[in-house]
Amino acid sequence: MSILLSNISKKFGAFSALDNINLEIPEGELVALLGPSGCGKTTLLRIIAGLERADQGRILISGQDRTEHDVSKRGIGFVFQHYALFRHMTVFENVAFGLRVKPRRDRPGEAIIRKKVHDLLNLVQLDWLHDRYPDQLSGGQRQRIALARALAVEPSVLLLDEPFGALDASVRKDLRQWLRNLHHDLNVTSIFVTHDQEEAMEVASQVVVLNHGKIEQQGTPSEIYDQPSNAFVSGFIGQTNVFDLGHQDADWLQTAGLSTLQQQGKIVHVRPHDIVIEKSTFDNDAFVILKDWQHLGALIRIELVKNSVTGQSASVYAEMPNEQFKLLRLNKGDKVDLKIRHAHWFH
């Protein structure tokens, strides 16, 4: 089901958590609400769910205005950050809860409930845990049970609050992939909140970047990465080198291949992998000193320092594949030449 938010605003006292949010989410998408902590992303998710009331604005789910609907009548599934499993119920009863609380005329029979719960538990691959209590499960298992429980009521929209936040790194990796596949199979419109840009890029089909209660950009992961609409998005998504031409001298950047003729602003963002380095062959003033490097698996991150005439030094980070770096045979303290292949300009 599609979701349409129009003019959503929310204040907590004097603090404006959300400021005039307009957002359209087409049916079947897996959307990430991405932003730093305190940007209002969880508040927005809770407003969509009906757990929080917006000060103004409307929420339309598949064209119907649900703004005034109570959370229990919205037809959403919500997965909480800390899962909020019912600790006095077994895994089976947790998943069955949504079916058992239906009004008598809609409530399925015991046999149907039984079958449905076991099907869902099989879907999350945890049917063998059906008679355990939540306290006896690991974090990743609880997460999947929470998801099965939310899916039991066949929600038109699935909302997940920091779904991988409380898990350790290796479990998180597996679950990301798993969630993506699950979404592919079920095709239910889903929104999840995260502060981890890597997670958003990896899992989501659409990313909405939020900051200070406002939407900075919405688009596919590649759009967000390749065409960031402003300096905040560019800086928040992935690593980037920031050069402020208002305060720094631009000559060496020009020598490095940055065309300042068609400049569209004063701030330049350059991704580390858009910088190519070579051993310096002659003495020009574009050279920089290689300070250190770190292994990031397949990539090497190279830390470079540019000492300017005024005595200020600027750090520049570059990234290149391992093999390529070895071929350069560089040592710490070597002079290197830079070549900037691509840059983003901002005002």
Partner: protein, 275 residues
């Protein structure tokens, strides 16, 4: 306990515990048991099956049961209000809850008797409007015991309600549960073990309560005479054997009831995965 336990100080602390419990609890109670051995079985049965004694047992246990049930109900609501809402004077109410703990029970008894006697402020009101007399009736005993019991319930339920994750309620609502279903299926089962503890504490206290009851009860034999009063009466008449026989019976019944409540509690916790 193995020698190389990670927690040091097992020997001195267990020693202290045993000595302390012996001096304060075990020796006095066993004296009671030994004292009653001076009675033979027929005498014992004779004392216990005395009509006045039997009806005092009935009065004591039924009043304590009723009072702790009512206190559990109201105490739960009080704890709920104190935890869930913020309002003007909350701290004052908080302090007020502990009052029955601190007040000498005899003072409480006299105050209650004064207020609820037929010419008293509340007593007059109740008689005029509902035709119910509280003081000098079994109802008065229940009244006094509720007063004594409330803090036990509030103080056991409160921390559990405080710790309760509200996200569980939100989760239940998002799954379509009504507010009533959320309370019945999510909140209450999680609070029930604590409520049961509060109930057990107030029941145990109620059965043995003396000071606050005797002033309001009227102490009519067969009607509103409680067991502790009967024991005191027997002692005053130097009927020490009679007193010990009643006391021992009381001890055994109380012990069995507490055991029962503890087993119930174990069952509840086990059923809800808390063990």
């Amino acid at each position: 306990m193995s020698q190389n336990s990670i927690m040091p100080g097992f020997r001195p602390t267990i020693g202290f515990t045993v000595v302390y419990l012996s001096l304060v609890v075990l020796i006095p109670l066993s004296t009671l048991v030994f004292k009653s051995f001076q009675l033979n079985w027929e005498d014992y049965i004779h004392i216990i099956t005395n009509k006045r004694v039997l009806s005092s047992f009935r009065v004591s246990f039924s009043a304590a049961l009723l009072a702790s049930l009512i206190a559990s109900f109201f105490g739960f609501i009080v704890a709920w209000v104190l935890v869930r809402y913020s309002f003007f004077g909350k701290r004052f109410f908080h302090a007020l809850i502990d009052f029955p703990f601190a007040l000498p029970t005899a003072v409480a008894g006299i105050v209650l008797a004064t207020v609820f006697q037929p010419s008293g402020f509340l007593g007059k009101l109740l008689i005029d409007s509902l035709g119910v007399q509280v003081a000098f009736k079994p109802l008065g005993i229940v009244m006094a015991l509720i007063f004594i019991s409330i803090p036990f319930v509030v103080r056991t339920v409160e921390p559990v309600l405080l710790e309760f994750e509200t996200s569980m309620e939100e989760a239940a609502s998002s799954l379509g549960a009504t507010r009533f279903q959320v309370f019945l299926k999510i909140i209450f089962p999680n609070v029930f073990p604590a409520l049961l503890t509060g109930f057990a504490l107030s029941f145990a206290r109620g059965v043995g309560e003396y000071g606050s009851v005797i002033f309001i009860a009227g102490n009519l034999p067969y009607v509103s005479e409680i067991v502790p009063l009967l024991i005191v009466t027997k002692l005053e008449q130097f009927d020490i054997q009679g007193a010990t026989a009643i006391a021992l019976t009381m001890l055994v019944i109380s012990f069995l009831l507490l055991l029962l409540i503890n087993m119930l509690q174990y069952w509840v916790r086990k059923r809800s995965g808390q063990l």
